[in-house]
């Protein structure tokens, strides 16, 4: 019924400055908010033209920075009345273009709603406005011995509202879950400007799980104005292990055996040779440069349980061919071992003028075969790949190295990235583990979902946002777009005509 993700607005046909609805909206916004919170000048709009996916840019029509939920609701209501798109934006650190502006739309920045309203130690929750930085929650809870578990690598900057919108992950997801598993409640402004409260400091809620639906919906179903998150006791002790392997497959087997032995590490990261070499050159973390793959494993918990656990993991690593194992029990050595991994992206950035970070997730068992496949793709396209892998939860971040100044390389890198994601889907995985679809992965969505599934997504969207004004054009590709791509649908590893060779 509604096969378009473009905004269903007449206003979009005209330039905003000549469109009566836009002028009516602007007038209302200027009456509603202080002058400094309604940005219309070119220089002021400039910082909003992109999010963390800087390859894709668009100047917004207007940016507004409301300070209260009532103002957010009024902005949305007013835009709804006049058919003007609204693009919610947190800290702008998203990696998939989820907050890319719309030339005829209002960017609704939530950065001024940055208060932590309450740290409720009795109920172990924090209540935060959407613009609060992820790390700020843990910092505020620290004095009570509590913290907020999900820690996306951008946690210094990224906002909790954006985390909800993208269902952000991090390196500790296997043990502590993603955003969706740690958010207990939210207040949400819906597409018509009405406000709804979901959950609270509560462990379950009646009816279909609307809160889960909201998580990862990229600002397309509603705009979060308050979030209630669970807080956990800060782990008493931590141990970090670094293991070097001379074969990637051995490292993969070690991961499977550790999990098969009933151990859920707080974090378990794998890096391949190129990533290790880049990280070591950058961070001097002490990684073995001759290793084909390394594992960084973090174990945490009460002091009493950690000793036995560390021994058990060390045994399993050795049994699977780790030729070097370093153990870190003090904070500074642990920080050094992590530093290499945490700076892997900028480190790879030094190897090459540009890189594209992919975000596929695969069943852990498929790791060796997918890495081989990525290697083949890399050779076919003639672009190098460094692999960084959240081994614990199967989330793979291949970094495709390219030079945007070389004609055609950007397109080549994008096409190569898409091939890698197809390989992830073919292995039974998914095109995005934690970065979101945004605009970046609209095309690969055609690979993962059938047209019936995409249509179901559109009907869901229409149910929540009948006019399609909340972050239009993101998340779900139109059937037309998929048709034009002639995209091959791959599902659960079953390619149509698997006996045929494909290039």
């Amino acid at each position: 019924m509604n096969n378009t993700s473009e905004p269903n607005v007449d206003a979009a046909r005209w330039a905003p400055e000549q469109s009566a609805p836009h002028q009516a909206v602007l007038q209302r916004l200027q009456a509603l908010l202080p002058a400094a919170s309604v940005i219309t000048d070119h220089a002021g709009l400039r910082p909003y033209e992109t999010d963390g996916l800087t390859a894709i840019r668009e100047m917004p029509w207007v940016v507004v920075l409301p300070e209260t939920e009532a103002q957010v609701a009024e902005v949305v209501r007013c835009c709804a009345q006049h058919g003007v798109p609204v693009i919610a934006r947190g800290a702008g650190t998203g990696l998939s273009g989820g907050a890319r502006p719309h030339a005829q739309g209002v960017v609704l920045g939530l950065s001024k709603m940055s208060a932590i309203e309450k740290i409720d130690i009795e109920n172990r929750v924090a209540i935060a406005q959407p613009g609060v930085r992820n790390l700020a929650i843990s910092q505020a809870a620290q004095q009570y011995g509590l913290y907020y578990a999900p820690d996306p690598s951008s946690q210094i900057a990224c906002s909790i509202g954006g985390n909800v919108a993208e269902n952000a992950g991090g390196v500790h997801c296997l043990k502590y879950g993603l955003t969706v598993n740690n958010v207990l409640g939210a207040r949400v402004v819906l597409a018509d400007g009405s406000i709804v409260e979901l959950g609270g400091a509560l462990y379950d809620n009646p009816g279909p799980d609307l809160l889960a639906l909201l998580c990862g919906s990229e600002g397309m179903l509603g705009i979060v104005t308050q979030v209630t998150v669970a807080l956990l006791p800060t782990p008493e002790t931590k141990a970090v292990l670094l293991a070097g392997f001379s074969k990637v497959v051995d490292a993969g087997n070690a991961v499977a055996e550790i999990i098969g032995a009933g151990i859920i590490p707080a974090g378990m990261e794998m890096m391949d040779k190129l990533a290790v070499q880049a990280a070591e050159a950058f961070a001097k973390a002490g990684y073995p440069l001759d290793a084909e793959a390394i594992l960084i494993i973090e174990l945490d918990g009460a002091a009493a349980e950690l000793g036995a656990l560390t021994e058990q993991v060390t045994r399993l690593l050795r049994a699977n061919g780790a030729y070097q194992i370093d153990e870190a029990h003090d904070a500074s050595t642990q920080a050094r071992l992590w530093k290499g991994r945490k700076s892997a992206f900028p480190a790879v950035g030094r190897l090459s003028p540009d890189y594209l970070c992919m975000d596929g997730t695969i069943p852990r068992k498929a790791l060796p075969s997918v890495l081989t496949e990525i290697d083949n793709i890399s050779q076919t396209f003639g672009l190098a790949v460094a692999n960084v892998f959240h081994a614990a939860d199967g989330n793979l971040h291949p970094l495709v190295l390219f030079d945007a100044n070389e004609p055609g390389q950007t397109d080549k890198a994008m096409a190569m990235g898409a091939k890698i994601l197809e390989a992830c889907v073919a292995a039974g995985g998914t095109i995005t583990g934690e970065h979101g679809v945004g605009v970046e992965k609209l095309d690969t969505m055609c690979v993962q979902f059938t047209s019936a599934e995409l249509e179901q997504f559109f009907r869901l969207k229409t149910a929540m946002d009948p006019e399609g004004l909340l972050n239009p054009g993101k998340g779900i590709p139109t059937l037309t777009r998929c048709g034009e791509l002639g995209g091959m649908h791959v599902h659960n590893g079953r390619l149509p005509f698997p006996e045929l060779e494909r290039f």
Binding site: E122, Y203, P208, L210, P233, N395, K441
Partner: protein, 383 residues
């Protein structure tokens, strides 16, 4: 493969749609008494739609058809030292109809470990869903991290089938821990709730607690050295190891505990109450864990059982208004077992719009008692 096995279901849904009939999705009917009854023109029977399709312990994922008995899932996992962390209830656990995987997800109900081990919705990784038009759709998958498309899979938790019928479900599973001990100590309900809040801020391998009949029970699970050390440290707060009720947590999970069967609770109890349809009413109240104990309960040690550090309170009480006022005042919600699930008007409206998206002609009868309603253009907010 899964699609072929579901073709009977699809045919039945399409036929019902053509005849304008309503189908009642049915597994084991083990939760029949929990919600107000709903009627269909015909039953969509899921019980023969069963079987584990994929299970690899080191992937921490099990994929099975929705009609698979929960008992089968639990046994399959136990053989490999794993479990469903959310401990969904197997009601009538000693019968062959103690609940299906689909029913466990559709009801969204989680067991005693919910605050520590996650809810059933947290474990849902993917579903294969048949919508009201008989379309077979796959959402999510078998991997933990997946943000491709809207999270239609977890949306099914608590939907009681109002958004379609799940055919295949993938759940995250968890290793069984090396050692599990139960501790107990006598104290009043208020003191138990305070203590649970304190313990919740400490590094302890707590995975469940329960207050009942003037005693706080605490479950510790983890590796042997961690559990033993925690147990030693907890004697300082009056909690000591007990084997008095060896299968307490199973009883609580499966609602076999005598609290839920009042006729067995005490011989001097003049009434012979059962859970459903008789007095006094049994309430399930979800509240912020540290909320005060309701003052209208004159004999909390007999009428109240708390789980989740106080976040879940079961109690017997007749005055619905008092319970409603209390739940609202503490910021929680209440549900009288056997009656309709309480839904706020704003949530009801969203759910009805979603139903229009998944089942526009209302083929699926559902115990939430709602029908699809198409979202109008700016229904409330704008002119």
């Amino acid at each position: 493969m899964a699609f072929d096995a579901a073709s009977d279901l699809i045919d039945q849904i399409k036929a019902a749609g053509q005849r304008n009939q309503k189908l009642l999705i049915q597994g084991h009917s083990s939760k029949r008494g929990w919600l107000a009854s709903s009627r269909g023109d015909d039953v969509l029977d899921l019980t023969s739609h069963q079987g584990v399709l994929q299970y690899q312990p080191e992937e921490l994922v099990i994929t099975a058809r929705a009609g698979t008995p929960l008992g089968v899932i639990e046994e399959t996992l136990a053989e490999r030292g794993q479990m469903l962390a959310s401990e969904p209830p197997c009601l009538a656990a000693n019968t062959s109809r103690s609940g299906t995987l689909g029913g466990a997800v559709a009801s969204g109900l989680s067991g005693p470990g919910r605050p520590w081990l996650g809810a059933i919705r947290d474990a849902v990784l993917g579903v294969e869903l048949i919508n009201g038009a008989g379309e077979y759709l796959r959402f999510g998958g078998q991997v933990m991290k997946n943000v491709a498309g809207y999270d239609v899979s977890r949306l099914q938790a608590g939907a009681w089938g109002c958004l379609g019928v799940m055919s295949v479900i993938s759940l995250r599973v968890q290793p069984v821990t090396e050692q599990e001990w139960t501790l107990s100590g006598a104290m009043a309900a208020e003191a138990a709730i305070d203590l649970c809040a304190d313990l919740g801020r400490r590094n302890l391998p707590i995975t469940a607690n329960c207050w009942y009949l003037g005693v706080l029970y605490l479950r510790l699970s983890g590796n042997a050295s961690g559990v033993t050390a925690a147990c030693e440290s907890l004697s300082a707060v009056g909690l000591n190891r007990t084997d008095a009720v060896p299968d307490l947590w199973r009883q609580l999970k499966n609602h076999e505990h005598r609290f839920f069967h009042r006729e067995n609770a005490s011989k001097d109890d003049s009434t012979s109450d059962t859970i459903v349809g008789s007095r006094p009413k049994l309430w399930r109240v979800v509240a912020p864990p540290a909320a005060p104990v309701p003052s209208f309960l004159t004999t909390p040690e007999r009428d109240l059982l708390t789980l989740w550090s106080g976040g879940l309170r079961w109690f017997y009480h007749d005055e619905a208004d008092a319970v409603l006022d209390y739940s609202r005042a503490v910021g929680g919600w209440c549900w009288a077992l056997g009656e309709a699930m309480p839904l706020e008007a704003a949530h009801q409206q969203i759910i009805q719009h979603l139903m229009a998206a998944f089942d526009p002609h209302g083929v699926f009868a559902n115990p939430l008692g709602l029908g699809p309603k198409a979202a109008s253009t700016f229904g409330g907010g704008a002119s």
